[in-house]
């Protein structure tokens, strides 16, 4: 196994060019793709998450590191062995009906993607029926709903109801968020999880699927 220090440094710096060079170097050295990911890229992202949580890294640095990692994963993609799980899980995410706020939702989606989840972003003003339709179509592990208005929060239980009626509720975990949403509200409407910001959304998503 190679030493991935240079790769990790490049990811932390968001230096895509160097990170790709380092990944290519590992590939040329016949490193196993899985090792490059597990021992190179992911620990770097974990370190970034840690720095962010401590307030020493900023959102754009976090996002740039995630992007850097994704570019490297693309390079590795053809080399993963059959059965290598490269996604932590699939998250379908949207802003609920009547609500047009999407900056928070987008940020959550990007952070989850950076942490290794596959994202299906279905946009804003998404009706319960549309959620149902998209869940059927894409078969996600987690459904994330965002609401920034107290007036659109009721669309969350409506969506959960629609998913129940469609017989899909048991196959998925539901995670909700947005400024007016609280832990208590999540319990009340029987969502599985709530996160107050993008950083904790990643932790909660992992928790929901029992992964680290």
């Amino acid at each position: 196994m190679s030493d991935y220090k240079a790769l990790q440094e490049a990811v932390l710096k968001g230096d895509i060019k160097t990170a790709l060079e380092q990944t290519q170097k590992a590939i040329d050295a016949k490193d196993v793709a899985r090792d490059v990911l597990d021992n190179g890229l992911i620990p770097a992202m974990d370190e970034m998450g840690d720095r962010f949580a401590k307030g020493v890294a900023f959102v754009p640095q976090m996002l740039r590191a995630a992007k850097t990692m994704q570019e490297c994963v693309k390079l590795l993609q053809p080399l993963f062995a059959e059965g290598d799980i490269t996604s932590k899980g699939k998250v379908l995410i949207g802003t609920v009906k009547g609500d047009l706020h999407d900056i928070g939702k987008n940020l959550v989606a990007m952070m989850l993607e950076g942490a290794g989840f596959t994202i299906v972003d279905i946009g804003v003003d998404v009706s319960p029926d549309k959620f149902v339709e998209k869940v059927k179509e894409t078969n996600p592990d987690i459904v994330g709903m965002s609401a920034l208005l107290s007036t659109t929060m009721p669309a969350m239980p409506e969506t959960i109801e629609a998913l129940k009626t469609a017989g899909l509720r048991d196959n998925i975990k539901i995670m909700i968020g947005g400024a007016p949403v609280t832990e208590k509200y999540a319990t009340q409407i029987e969502a599985d999880s709530y996160a107050s910001d993008a950083g904790s959304a990643v932790a909660k998503a992992k928790e929901l699927l029992g992964i680290s």
Binding site: V59, L107, L149, T151
Partner: protein
């Protein structure tokens, strides 16, 4: 002595060169990238006026149309109070301060706890505003959780007009509730035409950065233009989130969005009143919160006032007196004071969000009460220094210096002028230590709490007539 004009202190952050460059960039955005216009009627209107429509509902707006809209937009207009008296003449860089809209939480005035807002909070904030001299207009300050969501903005509006006669800035969800709100307003004014002649409310709608105009928002924009309801259309072009992270770029984009709205507005009804300016705050890069206490927002709106003076002439929309702090503490005081004072010196016109805590999530009666005092303080400062024989006071000096043992405190000149020559705070405490301790060692938060409660207890707004109240109830119950 020859008369000397009093100089009004003025903060300037842009010169003509920068103003022209930002404006040129906004025009370039509109002419080359265009906006996404999701309202079929408005899209057709723009197309008929010669705009290029592409990608279904995107439209490029040429500079001529923009310049024409700027030309026909009123350069001054007045908001009246609900009794028809002129209250906010928006001209000459006059500054007026008011509260903000929909918060999720409020700091309970009795318990000091943060709790979800209810409709009684809307009423309380309106009543407080009615009783505070330096707060010129009212907004809901709460998104009440105990009224039906469908008509939430109608309920908020009714709670407001029942508790204040001051001018108002209101929110509506769509073309449906805004029509009901307009009916209520017309009932108060004594008819639609009377309301049009003396409007007492301004609608707050928002385009979506970057460059997107949803149908319901344009519905409201057109309705306001037709009915002569003044409106502002600040998109949330917060730097680093909805807009470029650099303020010049965020402003250019936000201004482009505003100008696109203005074009539709003026095409619908030339000369209808429009308040200019996007909300250019920042997305904080640690918390990912859109800040309500940052210097960038104050700076961008000062720049906007410069754009008004150098170019557009149209009165501006601004913010102040808010904070990202969770409680009304020193941070809240610092952020409120900074923004109130700079907005005043920038000569911004309609300044909202006074009394917000927690980046606009929580409202606080005490914070509004404090902001009221900070406006008074800033207004005093912004009044400048009158220079004339009376204020130079050589006569007084002659008298005092000629009388052994005398001092200015005893002189008639002091007696005659101290009221206007000095700023007399009400809540900012200057008492001696023992007196302060004797009065219960109250800090600013506590003093504002006592004052807010006193106003809620004692203040009586001039009640609306029985007929008007009946009409309102009829409209609402329909």
């Amino acid at each position: 002595m020859k008369e000397v004009q009093t100089f009004r202190p003025r903060l300037k952050v842009l010169g003509k060169q920068q103003v022209d460059a930002i404006h040129a960039s906004a025009l370039e955005i509109l002419a080359t990238m265009g906006v996404k216009m999701e309202h079929p009627g408005a899209l057709a209107m723009l197309k008929n006026a010669g705009c290029e429509v592409f990608n279904e509902d995107w439209v490029k707006i040429p500079a001529e149309l923009v310049e024409a809209a700027i030309k026909t937009a009123p350069k001054k207009f007045t908001l009246y109070d609900q009794n028809g008296n002129p209250a906010m003449p928006l001209e000459d860089g006059n500054s007026f301060y008011g509260t903000g809209s929909d918060t999720n939480f409020t700091i309970d005035v009795e318990t000091g706890e943060r709790r979800p807002t209810v409709i009684a909070d809307v009423a309380n904030f309106a009543k407080l505003v009615d009783g505070l001299d330096n707060i010129s207009f009212n907004m809901s300050m709460a998104n009440a959780q105990d009224v039906p969501v469908k008509d939430i903005y109608i309920h908020a509006f009714v709670a407001m007009v029942k508790n204040t006669n001051k001018p108002m800035v209101f929110i509506a969800d769509s073309g449906r509730d805004i029509a009901v709100i307009h009916q209520i307003a017309s009932a108060i004014a004594g008819g639609e035409e009377k309301f049009r002649a003396k409007p007492f409310m301004l609608n707050y709608s928002e385009a979506i950065s970057p460059l997107r105009f949803p149908e319901t928002i344009v519905d409201k924009l057109i309705f306001c233009a037709q009915k002569g309801i003044p409106l502002c259309l600040p998109s949330g072009s917060n730097a680093g989130g909805g807009a470029p992270v650099t303020l010049a770029g965020a402003m250019a984009m936000g201004i482009a969005e505003n100008l696109a709205g203005l074009v539709i507005h003026q095409m619908t009804n030339k000369g209808a009143p429009f308040l200019f300016g996007p909300n250019v705050s920042v997305l904080d890069m640690k918390s990912a919160v859109v800040s309500y206490g940052c210097p960038e927002w104050s700076l961008s709106q000062a720049a906007l006032a410069d754009m008004r003076d150098e170019l557009y002439g149209i009165p501006t929309w601004a913010y102040a007196g808010a904070s990202d702090s969770k409680v009304m503490d020193a941070q809240a005081g610092a952020e409120a004071a900074f923004s109130i004072y700079s907005a005043m010196l920038a000569h911004a016109n309609v300044i909202h969000d006074m009394g917000y805590l927690e980046y606009g999530s929580t409202s606080c009666l005490e914070m509004v009460t404090m902001a009221n005092e900070l406006v008074a303080m800033s207004r005093f400062f912004a009044g400048g220094i009158p220079v004339n024989d009376g204020t130079l006071a050589l006569d007084a000096l002659k008298r005092v210096s000629g009388t052994p043992g005398s001092m200015f405190l005893m002189d008639d000149h002091t007696f005659e002028h101290f009221m206007e020559a000095q700023f007399t705070p009400k809540l900012l405490d200057r008492s001696r230590y023992d007196a302060w301790e004797g009065a219960g060692s109250q800090d600013m938060y506590k003093r504002c709490n006592v004052e807010a409660k006193r106003i809620l207890d004692e203040h009586e707004m001039e009640p609306k007539s029985k007929e008007v109240l009946e009409q309102i109830d009829n409209i609402v119950s329909k």
